[in-house]
C-alpha cells in the first residue's frame, strides 16, 4: 500500500519534471546555454542539473538515514552531536625542540584549543635519532624532535595528562611513542585507564601514500596488533589507531578512493586482530579514523556520512560486533593541506573555512584547520590563530552546530552519499577479490603489486592535467592571478635546534643506566624473534631512556627494512 503510494508520487514528480524540462528549461537553455565547466565532483561523479525525490526514491529513511546515535549512524554517532559537546579543536603542531613545542602548545591551549596534536620531525617519524647521518638538516624542521623519554618530559611539562587528550601523528615508531606517553602518565601519577589520546599507528596507508616506512608490511601489521592487544588491557580510553585517509588524499587520490582505501585498511586491521583472537567488541571502541576535507563541499559531506554508514554495517554485519558502541565510526578531520596555494595565501583562509564547514556538516569528532601560510612553511603564530578562530567562528557564530546533520534529506546530498558508498564498495570488493576473500590479504597484495600506488597516482595525474589545461580552475593560480610580493611572515626553525638536540641526546646517554638499556633491548629482541608482544619490552626500554633509534634498530634487525618499489 505504502509502496503503491510512493510509486504514484514519484510518477507525479516525474511528470512534473518532464513538463519543466520541456516548457521551462529547454527554451531557456536554447537562449542562454550553460557554463562550460566540468559539472562533476573531484571523484569524477557527474553532477546533474537538479535533483528531486526520484533520485532518492530507493533510499529508505529509517533503514539508510535514521536518527543520530542509532544504526547506521549516517547522521552522527552521538544522539545529541554538537548540541551536547562541540568537536575537539585540535591543531596539529610541533617544531624545533620539546621546549619550543611545549611553548606553542601552551599558547594554543590559552587561545581555546581543546586538545593537543603532535607533529614530529622526519627523523623521529622514521625512527632515527637526531645524531643519525640521515637526520642531518631535518632535526626539528617539520615537527618536534624526540629521541628519548627526556624529550617527552619536557614536552608535557605543565600539561596534566588526566585533563588533556593528545594525538600523536606517528607510525613506524607508534609503539615507542605510546610507551613514552604511558611512562609520562606514570610519572604524573595519572592512572593508565585515565589516559586519553590517539596514536596514528596506521602503517597500511603509509605504503599507499605518505611513505613513512621502515619495516615491511607484514611485521608492521603484527606490531599494530601487539599495540591493540596491550592497549585494550592497559590504556582502555586511548585510541590505539587512527585509520587514515588523509594522506591517501594528499597523495592525489579522489574522495571515493580515500573512502574506499581507508575503510579497506580498517577492515584489514580488524581482520588481523580477530586472527590474533582479540574480541572485536573490546577492540572497536579504541579504533578511530582520520579523513581529509577537500574543496568539493557536498562530495566531502557525503563522504563523511557514507563512511559512518559503511563502517556501522561492516562492524555489525561482517565482523559480528554486538555492542552498538562498536558500530561507531569516530573520526578526526584535517582540512586539505594540498589545496593551499602559495599564491595569494590569504585566499587559503576561505578554502579552509569551506572545508571546515564540510567537516562539521559531516559530523567529525575533532578538527584541525590548516594555516594559510602552509604552502610556504610551518604555521606562524598569527596564521595558526586565524585557523583556530575559523573553527571557533563556525562553532559559535554560524549556527551550523545547532541542529544535527541539517543536510539530511537533501535530494543531492542523500543521492551523493549513496553514490559514494556504492563506488567505495566496488573498490573494496575488488580488494577482497585480490585477497581471495580476505580484505587483509587483498590490501597486502595490493601493496605488493602496486595497485594502490597506481590508482592514486593516476588520479593525481588526471587532476593535474585538468588544472594545466585550465578545465579546473584554482583561484589565484591558473585564473585571477596577480603579480605579488609575499607579505606574510614565515616561521623559521632555528638551525641551532639540531645541535642542541644532539647535545641533549649525548647527555641522556651518558647519564642513563646503560646496563638496563641493554637488558631491555635484549628482551625486545627476544620478544620480536619469538613472535611475542613487543609492547612490554618497549615500555621497559623507554623508561630506561633507550632512544627511538635504538629501539627501532632492534626491530629493523629482526624484521628487516622495506624500500618501496618505484612507480611513477
Amino acid at each position: 500500500m505504502e509502496d503503491e503510494l510512493k510509486k504514484k508520487e514519484i510518477e507525479r514528480i516525474r511528470k512534473k519534471r518532464e513538463e519543466w524540462e520541456k516548457n521551462c528549461l529547454q527554451p531557456f537553455l536554447e537562449k542562454a546555454g550553460e557554463r562550460d565547466y566540468p559539472f562533476e565532483t573531484l571523484s569524477g561523479i557527474e553532477v546533474k542539473r537538479v535533483y528531486d525525490p526520484e533520485d532518492i526514491a530507493h533510499i529508505d529513511f529509517v533503514r539508510d538515514i535514521g536518527y543520530p546515535g542509532e544504526f547506521p549512524f549516517t547522521r552522527g554517532v552521538y544522539p545529541t552531536m554538537y548540541r551536547g559537546r562541540l568537536w575537539t579543536m585540535r591543531q596539529f603542531s610541533g617544531f624545533g625542540t620539546a621546549e619550543d613545542t611545549n611553548r606553542r602548545w601552551k599558547m594554543l591551549l590559552k587561545e581555546g584549543q581543546t586538545g593537543l596534536s603532535t607533529a614530529f620531525d622526519f627523523p623521529t617519524l622514521m625512527g632515527l635519532d637526531s645524531d643519525d647521518p640521515l637526520a642531518d638538516g631535518e632535526v626539528g624542521k617539520v615537527g618536534v624532535a624526540v629521541d628519548t623519554l627526556k624529550d617527552f618530559e619536557i614536552l608535557f611539562d605543565g600539561i596534566p595528562l588526566d585533563k588533556i587528550s593528545t594525538s600523536f601523528t606517528i607510525n613506524p615508531p607508534a609503539a615507542i611513542i605510546l610507551a613514552m606517553y604511558t611512562a609520562i602518565g606514570d610519572m604524573q601519577g595519572v592512572p593508565r585507564d585515565q589516559l586519553r589520546g590517539t596514536i596514528q599507528n596506521d602503517m597500511l596507508k603509509e605504503f599507499h601514500a605518505q611513505n613513512t616506512i621502515v619495516l615491511p608490511p607484514e611485521p608492521s601489521v603484527k606490531i599494530i596488533v601487539d599495540i591493540f592487544e596491550w592497549g585494550i588491557e592497559n590504556v582502555p580510553k586511548f585510541n590505539l589507531i587512527s585509520i587514515s585517509g588523509y594522506h591517501i588524499r594528499e597523495a592525489g587520490s579522489t574522495a571515493v578512493q580515500e573512502l574506499a582505501f581507508t575503510i579497506a585498511d580498517g577492515m584489514a586491521y580488524v581482520e588481523a586482530a580477530m586472527e590474533r583472537g582479540i574480541d572485536v567488541d573490546r577492540l572497536a571502541p579504541q579504533l578511530s579514523f582520520f579523513f581529509n576535507a577537500h574543496n568539493n563541499f557536498f562530495e566531502e559531506i557525503a563522504k563523511f556520512r557514507a563512511a559512518r554508514r559503511m563502517w556501522a554495517k561492516i562492524m555489525r554485519d561482517e565482523f559480528g560486533a554486538k555492542n552498538p558502541r562498536s558500530w561507531w565510526m569516530k573520526f578526526h578531520v584535517q582540512t586539505a593541506g594540498c589545496t593551499l596555494t602559495a599564491q595569494q595565501p590569504l585566499n587559503n583562509i576561505v578554502r579552509v573555512t569551506i572545508q571546515a564547514m564540510a567537516a562539521v556538516l559531516g559530523g567529525c569528532q575533532s578538527l584541525h584547520t590548516n594555516s594559510f601560510d602552509e604552502a610556504w612553511a610551518l604555521p606562524s603564530e598569527e596564521a595558526v590563530r586565524v585557523a583556530l578562530r575559523t573553527q571557533q567562528i563556525i562553532a559559535y557564530e554560524s549556527g551550523i552546530p545547532d541542529t544535527i546533520d541539517p543536510l539530511a534529506g537533501s535530494y543531492y546530498v542523500e543521492w551523493l552519499t549513496d553514490k559514494m558508498e556504492k563506488l567505495a564498495w566496488k573498490y573494496i570488493e575488488e580488494i577482497r577479490k585480490m585477497g581471495e576473500g580476505s580484505v587483509l590479504q587483498g590490501v597486502l597484495r595490493g601493496i605488493e603489486n602496486g595497485f594502490f600506488v597506481k590508482e592514486i597516482s593516476n588520479a593525481a595525474a588526471k587532476y593535474q592535467k585538468e588544472v594545466e589545461e585550465g578545465r579546473r580552475i584554482i583561484v589565484g593560480v591558473n585564473k585571477f592571478t596577480i603579480k605579488e610580493k609575499l607579505k606574510i611572515p614565515i616561521l623559521k626553525v632555528d638551525p641551532e635546534v639540531q645541535r642542541r638536540q644532539i647535545e641533549r641526546l649525548k647527555k641522556v646517554k651518558a647519564e642513563r643506566d646503560n646496563e638496563a638499556v641493554k637488558e631491555a633491548l635484549e628482551w625486545l629482541r627476544n620478544a620480536a624473534e619469538n613472535d611475542e608482544n613487543v609492547m612490554p619490552p618497549i615500555l621497559e626500554a623507554v623508561k630506561n631512556y633507550a632512544t627511538v633509534g635504538e629501539i627501532m634498530g632492534v626491530l629493523k634487525e629482526v624484521y628487516g627494512t622495506y624500500r618501496k618499489p618505484i612507480i611513477i
Binding site: 640521515l134 611513505n211 594528499e250 592525489g252 604552502a375 612553511a377 597516482s457 595525474a461
Partner: protein, 141 residues
C-alpha cells in the same frame, strides 16, 4: 640528431611527499624528455651519484621538509666530488621553499626554483631553454 634531454627527478631527505615529483616526472616524460626517478628517501650522495652515473642534463630536486638549505648544496658538492660538473647541468628545486631562501639556493648553484602551483608547461619551457644554453656553452669550450 640531438639527443633527448635527460632529467633526474630526485627526492632527497626523509619526507615522503612524492606527488609533485611523480606528477612532474610523468609530464616531463610525456613532453619527450628521458626521465629517471630516484624514488624516496635518498641521501645527497645517492642523488649526486645517480646524476653523474646517468649523465643527466637536468637534476630536479623535490623537497618538502624544509631542509633544502642543508641538502641541496650538498647534492651539488657531491656531484663535483663524484666527477660531474654541476655547472654543465641544470639544477632545479621544487617544493615548499620560502621566497627568502631563493637567493641563497641560487648562489649555491640552483638554476630554477618552482613552488606548488607552477604550471608544468613553465617547467618544461624552462628546461628546454636552460639545457640549450648549457649545451651551447659546453660546445664553445
Amino acid at each position: 640528431m640531438e639527443r633527448p634531454i635527460k632529467v633526474l627527478v630526485a627526492k632527497v631527505g626523509l619526507d615522503g611527499h612524492d606527488r609533485g615529483a611523480k606528477v612532474v616526472a610523468r609530464f616531463l616524460r610525456d613532453a619527450g624528455f628521458e626521465v629517471v626517478y630516484t624514488g624516496l628517501h635518498r641521501t645527497p650522495q645517492e642523488v649526486a651519484m645517480a646524476a653523474v652515473q646517468e649523465d643527466v642534463d637536468v637534476v630536479g630536486i623535490s623537497i618538502h621538509s624544509g631542509a633544502h638549505k642543508e641538502l641541496v648544496p650538498k647534492v651539488i658538492k657531491y656531484i663535483k666530488e663524484f666527477g660531474g660538473n654541476p655547472e654543465e647541468m641544470v639544477i632545479l628545486v621544487g617544493g615548499i621553499i620560502p621566497e627568502d631562501d631563493f637567493e641563497e639556493l641560487k648562489k649555491a648553484g640552483v638554476d630554477g626554483i618552482f613552488i606548488p602551483g607552477t604550471p608544468i608547461q613553465e617547467i618544461i619551457d624552462f628546461i628546454k631553454k636552460a639545457v640549450a644554453e648549457k649545451r651551447k656553452a659546453v660546445a664553445k669550450k
